[in-house]
Symmetry: C2
Subunit: 157 residues, 2 copies
């Protein structure tokens, strides 16, 4: 049977997006990554805290089939840009391992991630991806407001 | 066979995202929709010109199986917020019709949309969706910079 989107394509698309987000993190100067924002919003480091926290803890819940309650994740990604990028890359590997070890059937099972969102695992992952794209778009505006040319949106596609 | 994502789920997710983008358009005051921006970027109306243009012209190409070359689309979405919202809703119907009339096999066929991107149709649609989320994230920052509370990102999910 023809599949609309295969597991491998879905994974590839997420990792393509994650490479682009990594470039956005890299584009921030160290100080501005942790301090700069527009309109009273979070600095980009706090967004990356959220992205890495959600990714790591969601995969752990899906793998171990145990709910972990959402909690404060300030500085979860790290306290320097280098530390953040290193944690970003660790999650890249964890995602690849999760996809390699998880069956198509499992992706369709409902799991109440963080005890809050009871949907098929693939829907929960889709939300993580879309949340990342959403916040990365916010990061693009921060970079422009800093006078920094962001990586081309299309660069990884 | 289990499918990772069904055609109906993919469509529903796009329309959920489009309802959220519609709320973001609505949240802008008339004048600021066409004039306000941050960091020298486009006002949100020009982003919506792009989103509606890409959607309408991509679907036409997939349906008629003929390439249309990408061209200038200033004011494609309309010159007032009411006109933009009306064109947004027309595209909503066109998307529903396209999905109803298009086979799973067709979604997997490569098509060189705008003579520029030769990928399976579902990949091209995925790009449209992710481009929309990216630019909507930009719109959130514009609203915050205007002191306007944007619609909750989670509101439609």
């Amino acid at each position: 049977m023809v599949e609309l989107v295969t597991k491998q394509e879905w994974l590839d698309n997420w990792q393509i997006n994650r490479r682009l987000t990594r470039k956005v993190i890299e584009a921030f100067p160290e100080k501005e990554l942790f301090e700069f924002s527009v309109g009273g919003m979070r600095p980009f480091s706090k967004i990356v805290d959220e992205l890495i926290y959600l990714g790591v803890i969601a995969l752990r819940q899906f793998s171990e089939n145990e709910i972990i309650i959402f909690e404060n994740h300030d500085n979860y990604a790290g306290k320097t840009k280098a530390e953040i990028l290193s944690n970003w890359d660790k999650l890249t590997e964890q995602i690849n391992t999760f996809f390699a070890n998880t069956s198509l059937e499992r992706f369709r099972e409902e799991f109440n991630v963080f005890g809050m969102f009871n949907y098929p695992i693939i829907h929960n992952l889709d939300y993580l991806l879309q949340n990342e794209i959403h916040h990365r778009g916010q990061g693009y505006v921060y970079l422009r407001a800093l006078g920094i040319e962001p990586p081309a949106f299309y660069s990884e596609f």
